[in-house]
Symmetry: C2
DNA sequence: GTCTGATCGTCAGTAGTACTGACGATCAGA
DNA sequence: TCTGATCGTCAGTACTACTGACGATCAGAC
């Protein structure tokens, strides 16, 4: 029985199922919470990066988020059209765009931070703060390899 | 500071990021492990259900997996074309299709079970068996709500 | 200074995923 | 027998995120 972990009949025991559906559920909750601000959880990820490590190039933000740089283009297009971020050429390297939050963008981020926090707390309500920390730590370890 | 959980600068602390990328990593590992068998982790999920609760209708399988019944059609089309499953009308309710593993399908499932188990073990190698159980339990609780 | 290869942002095209809405066939209850 | 609901199917759609190619720009070798 060298394959114990995957022999159970209940698909809800399979790690892949659990991880995928936990992701879907959390995303649905946070998207709903952020909707009134005109952004979703994906946008919020970018705002978070920009709020804490600006000025950053598009590529830096994309790499931090783990998405492709071509995907970043469309994401920023939307945020720029909404007046949340600005793009301007980096004077020290004109291949790059410096991406920054606007004044309105910072206000949106602050409101989004509260909304996101509430949604995440609601998602985690069923488990203890201790289990939450443990979950974060475990996932971080699994990703570091 | 009622929003503590989401105020950290590092996006890798955000639960959404951690869950999403853990899912992606595990899926990549298991897809690679199953590739030689001609199936992916999504197919394996269906096989697992069929192996343990047949005979089942397409809808039952879809609901167990948490996917739409229209998505199930295409998934089974592929598996049927590969000779892994068969569909036939349920004699007791001819709206339904009874879906079963073929002999070859059972052999594929057994091989897939081993391959999947190895990939999942590799994914979990960095954490203790105890932490693995804890992770499963936590995710299950979060999904039950 | 000039060349060469690499980098960045952009865009068109593409592939994968999973949905909505509609349909015919079938079932169950009034 | 009728009526509303269910199941599988299919076309169409929306979304996501990729690959590949392009021009502009940079950095290092010479």
């Amino acid at each position: 029985m060298s394959t114990e972990p995957s022999t159970t009949a209940d698909p809800h025991e399979v790690l892949g199922y659990l991880l995928k559906h936990a992701t879907l559920k959390l995303t649905a909750l946070t998207d709903a919470a952020l909707e009134q601000l005109g952004i979703d959880s994906k946008d919020f990820g970018a705002l978070r990066v920009l709020a804490h490590q600006e000025p950053a190039s598009q590529l830096q933000v994309a790499q931090t988020l783990g998405i492709d740089r071509t995907t970043m283009v469309a994401l920023l297009d939307v945020l720029e059209r909404k007046g949340i971020v600005t793009r301007r050429p980096d004077p020290t390297d004109r291949r790059r765009n410096v991406v920054e939050l606007t004044e309105q963008g910072m206000q949106t981020y602050e409101a989004a931070r509260v909304a996101y926090g509430k949604a995440e707390s609601a998602f985690l309500a069923a488990i203890s703060p201790n289990a939450t920390d443990q979950l974060r730590q475990t996932l971080r370890t699994l990703l570091e390899n």
